[in-house]
């Protein structure tokens, strides 16, 4: 179960990259937290900054401004050496298990690598731990001596998860963990991730563009557009009653199995603008179906509504998608 203990907390975090034409603010004054045992999803399109945010929460990028806390300790400026304990507790699973595993390494080497970096263990102890980790993702310890290249996509993603779990982390950052997998194996990995969370009370930061997957897995959701959070709230509420028109459009864009959703689809014009040439006022106004003149001059701040939802829009809740909920209860 999730609790109110904040494991990772970011306050007004910004990450800026230098580009030939100036600077690109990929993450723009974002505040974020993840409690123990919960799953927070970061959603948005490419260029929204969702992956950069996830990576900067792991301190893979040094923040340009703002602060990052882990278990209440400010780690914004800690040296790599001082971060060693943090690295152990925050692990990552990548999108494509074909490129995230070295094909020439044996499974045992893949899983033992983080153990080698963080613990002084004998070879035998390492093998035991690696085998244990492999069993926890539903693979036989007999696979330890095979090479990663001998496995199917689903099995490789299990190995990547086993590597991340070997250090017994408190937070797992998963960037599109199933989108490179075949449909029939995606569900295996989704169920595995859920089972692991129940067993270990681990927190997930899930980066995904698949809103049905997000609805299935996440407790909270953060919606990003051009580097900024435009909406944040409990996953159930956000999907049932989105407040930002961009969230509404994203939900409406999910390919639908039913006709009603298709008929009433909100289709946005154009594509997200470049974060280098950010529109004035609300970044979303050029594509927004309900934009008013003021939206191109004034920038809406992220405000908290009475029900706890956060939204950056002058007209929250005005645009609603048609979503057909099923209920198996």
């Amino acid at each position: 179960m999730s609790s109110d203990k904040k494991l990772i907390k970011a306050v007004d975090l910004s990450v800026t990259f230098k580009v030939p034409s100036g600077s690109l603010r990929a993450v723009d004054t974002v505040s974020f937290y993840v409690n123990a045992g919960e799953t927070v999803a970061i959603v948005g399109e490419s260029g929204s900054g969702k992956t950069t945010l996830a990576l900067s929460l792991m301190r893979a990028y040094a923040p340009t401004s703002g602060n990052l806390f882990f278990e209440d300790e400010d780690i914004t400026h800690l040296s790599e050496k001082a971060l060693k304990d943090f690295r152990k507790k925050v692990q990552m699973v990548f999108q494509d298990p074909y490129s995230s595993l070295d094909p020439r390494m044996t499974v045992s080497q893949v899983i033992a690598e983080p153990l080698r970096a963080h613990f002084k263990l004998s070879g035998k102890e390492r093998d035991e731990k690696a085998g244990e980790s492999l069993r926890s993702v539903g693979l036989s310890a007999d696979f330890l001596n095979r090479r990663a290249s001998q496995f199917s996509g689903g099995q490789r993603q299990r190995i990547a998860i086993a590597r991340a779990l070997a250090l017994d982390p408190k937070v797992l950052v998963a960037d599109e963990p199933v989108s490179a997998l075949d449909v029939s194996t995606q569900a295996q990995i989704v169920n595995l991730l859920q089972g692991i969370q129940e067993e270990r009370n681990i927190s997930y930061i899930l980066v995904s563009h698949d809103l049905r997957l997000v609805y299935h897995l996440a407790t909270r959701v953060v919606v990003m557009y051009l580097g900024k959070v435009v909406e944040e709230g409990a996953c159930d509420d956000v999907v049932a009653n989105p407040q930002h028109p961009y969230t509404a459009a994203l939900l409406s864009a999910v390919p639908a199995l039913d006709e009603a959703s298709r008929r009433d689809r909100i289709v946005l014009n154009g594509a997200p603008p470049s974060p280098i040439a950010r529109p004035t006022g609300c970044s979303f106004h050029p594509r927004c179906p309900i934009a008013r003149p003021e939206c191109s001059t004034n920038t809406p701040e992220l405000q908290t509504l009475p029900n706890g939802r956060k939204v950056a829009c002058f007209y929250p809740g005005e645009l609603q998608p048609h979503i057909s909920f099923t209920s198996s209860k």
Partner: protein, 317 residues
């Protein structure tokens, strides 16, 4: 012509150390004019190889057998000159990644005009008129200015619209679109799906996808492929509400839905056979909860829109 294309007993195989292995294993399929047919399958199901063979642009190492009939031309045996006349004219293709399918050093206009002029004896001016017409039809804003652009100057969504314009420019009877929205963002995907559903003119569409929801969104008929075979086909509503093949049912119950109860997903165990794997009987049997001795002893034929000894009825739990 009564149908847009007719495929009879199509086999596509590749050389492996153990001899030729088939990735498409004897497919029969007819697409009628104006049809929108989705070919749904996972990687390795043979859906892309079938699509490429229909245009005669499969990899050179592939061995194609059977018949792909466009009118009285069999694309499998047709001389190059004959196939080339049909390609881009009668049948055309939209690929997944528009950036790698368009020529980076030529303008949009020059690439589209080339295709018009190759198949019609018309002048440059007239060809450019047709280019403008088709760019407008696929919803490209400011088409006159865009004609002069190079592919890299357009966004991913616009590039895919250009690809679709290129496919439509000679008013073909059939467009084969292979995962045309997989590389696109969610809101852009929605735009392109709209275009594929209602902006294709008189052309029939064969949409190759791994995503049942994308198939349902665009098409009126779904053909499900597994490990080189068609295992089930039917109208979209029929496949979604009353799927009979255990694989189709498995795919549907493996996708997360907007279900407030958030029931655990039902994955299909294991993974599909590799192309060189010899599987006795039904290729899905090892992953199927309904399989019995009959299923591993002999391969079910495709009869009455399904290839299964034990079709299942009733709603999916």
């Amino acid at each position: 012509m009564s149908n847009a294309i007719e495929i009879k007993n199509l086999v596509v195989s590749f050389p492996t150390p153990a001899g030729y292995s088939a990735v498409v294993r004897g497919i029969n399929l007819t697409i009628n004019p104006g049809d929108r047919v989705a070919i749904v399958g996972e990687s390795g199901s043979g859906k892309t190889m079938m699509g490429l063979s229909m245009l005669g642009i499969q990899p050179t190492s592939a061995q194609v057998e059977g018949e792909i009939l466009i009118g009285d031309v069999n694309m499998v045996t047709a001389p190059d000159a004959v196939a080339r006349k049909l390609r881009g004219n009668y049948i055309s293709m939209v690929f997944q990644e528009p950036l790698t399918s368009l020529n980076p050093v030529r303008t949009i206009s020059s690439q589209l005009s080339e295709s018009v002029r190759r198949h019609n004896s018309i002048g440059k001016k007239e060809a450019e008129k047709r280019v403008l017409e088709v760019l407008t039809a696929v919803g490209i804003p400011a088409p006159k200015e865009r004609m002069k652009s190079y592919p890299h100057q357009l966004s991913g969504g616009l590039r895919q619209r250009v690809m679709i314009a290129l496919a439509l420019i000679n008013k073909p009877q059939l467009v084969v679109a292979d995962e045309p929205t997989t590389a696109l963002d969610a809101t852009i995907q929605a735009q392109i799906l709209d275009l594929l559903r209602s902006g294709m003119g008189d052309a029939a569409l064969m949409l190759i996808t791994h995503d049942l929801a994308v198939a349902a969104d665009v098409c009126n008929r779904i053909v499900v492929m597994y490990a080189g075979n068609i295992v089930e086909q039917g109208p979209v509503s029929e496949i979604l509400s009353n799927p009979k093949h255990p694989y189709t049912r498995g795919l549907l119950s493996a996708i997360p839905k907007f279900d407030q109860a958030r029931p655990a997903l039902n994955p299909i165990p294991g993974s599909p056979p590799t192309i060189s794997e010899v599987v006795p009987g039904c290729r899905f049997a090892s992953r199927c909860s309904y399989a019995d001795a009959q299923c591993t002893a002999s391969e079910p034929e495709f009869i009455n829109n399904i290839a299964c000894f034990h079709p299942v009825t009733g709603a999916i739990k």
